[in-house]
């Protein structure tokens, strides 16, 4: 039985189940794919969290679960009692691949005298001066402030922002673009109180 509804499975979410019968494989009578995902997810997460730091573990767990779902959809696992060992195999293979990538990275670090900290520093964006940003942000209209905050701080989609503000999606885009352009121009000028 499968409802086709995506249900939360802890911090992980099984991808939406396709309802077209041609794309679906129903290898197990007792449990549907979503329930299997829900059961396996904590084990995969535990496997990942034992080996990786939080962000990487979440990424790993998603990849592993996706590979398990792929196997289910393609009918590569026919028996429910095989699924546990199959999933563990997926996790181990994925871990080996990542370990190899890690070893390769370590070799490159040593070869070229680069450190993890060097990479972090290279990736770190230069922050905008906060006093200036506060000064400039306050000069936007309420709607523009809301679009900028929703976009960059809340990671909201344009459709959500449009709905919240009762404007169209293209309008959200226009407001964001105009606000970004205005903020950038403002940030290049002296702070308001001393601009005299």
């Amino acid at each position: 039985m499968n409802t086709g509804v995506v249900r939360p499975a802890g911090a992980l979410h099984c991808p939406a189940m396709r309802s077209d019968s041609a794309a679906r494989v129903r290898p197990f009578e007792a449990l549907d794919e979503q329930e299997l995902c829900r059961r396996l997810s904590p084990a995969i997460r535990a496997f990942a969290h034992r080996r990786l730091e939080r962000a990487a573990a979440e990424d790993f767990a998603h990849d592993a679960l996706l590979l398990v779902i792929e196997a289910l959809r393609e009918g590569r696992v026919q028996e429910q009692n095989q699924l546990g060992s199959y999933a563990l195999g997926v996790c181990r293979n994925l871990a080996r691949d990542r370990a190899r990538a890690g070893e390769r990275r370590q070799q490159l670090f040593e070869k070229y005298g680069v450190t993890e900290e060097d990479l972090v520093a290279l990736h770190a964006p230069l922050e905008v001066k906060r006093a200036k940003l506060e000064d400039c942000f306050s000069q936007l209209t309420q709607r523009a402030r809301q679009v900028i905050r929703s976009t960059f701080c809340d990671d909201s989609a344009d459709a959500e922002i449009a709905s919240a503000l009762s404007v169209s999606e293209p309008n959200v885009r226009v407001i964001r673009h105009r606000s970004l352009t205005a903020l950038r121009a403002c940030l290049e000028t002296p702070i308001s109180w001393v601009a005299r």
Binding site: A131, F137, S138
Partner: protein, 185 residues
């Protein structure tokens, strides 16, 4: 109101790319061009966008992104763990702001009767009247009977160091705009 689309500039083009507003083919072509420009040091929008987003998120988390807060917002800032200095600036008897001591955030409570006010705009001027900035649609809750200015230390010290005139313009239900209060500091 429907606004006309903005013309493409590097920053807004980057925004469209990040939000998948383009086709895969357009994105692929853009990536070729973007990486070439980045290598040439000719893609300043990349650094701006990343830095802007990082600072914006940090300030939003700290509760200092908005310069005007309600009393409820102030409570949240007070509980944030930052060193918060609070002062009251009464428009009828303003005292000079002392921003010399150690703090992270300055909260300035300005008592105002906001009954019937639908919109509040704040202008900052030089003592001679030259407009320095307009802050449209300041956030407020009439029930607070005050508005709260919230500045991180650097902005607070910069603003406190120079004489200024702050005007609070209220627009009521009748659509009339009137000067609610002026603070000379």
């Amino acid at each position: 109101m429907i606004l006309e689309p903005t013309e493409t500039n590097p920053l807004t083009r980057l925004d469209d790319y990040l939000r998948k507003r383009d086709t895969e083919a357009e994105a692929a072509a853009y990536e070729d061009e973007l990486f070439a420009r980045a290598v040439a040091g000719d893609a300043p929008e990349l650094g701006f966008h990343a830095g802007f987003e990082k600072s914006l998120r940090a300030m939003n988390e700290a509760g200092t992104l908005d310069l005007w807060l309600t009393a409820k917002d102030v409570e949240r800032v007070m509980k944030s763990g930052a060193r918060v200095k609070t002062i009251v600036v009464d428009p009828s008897a303003p005292e000079p702001v002392d921003a010399s001591d150690d703090f992270d955030i300055l909260i300035t409570r300005v008592p105002l009767d906001l009954t019937g006010v639908r919109r509040l705009d704040v202008d900052v001027r030089t003592p001679e009247g030259m407009l320095l900035k307009t802050m449209p649609e300041a956030l407020f809750d009439p029930a607070d009977k005050a508005i709260y200015g919230c500045c991180e230390a650097e902005l607070a010290r910069t603003a406190a160091a120079v004489p200024s005139r702050t005007e609070f313009w209220a627009t009521g239900d009748d659509g009339q705009r009137r000067l609610l209060a002026t603070i000379h500091l």
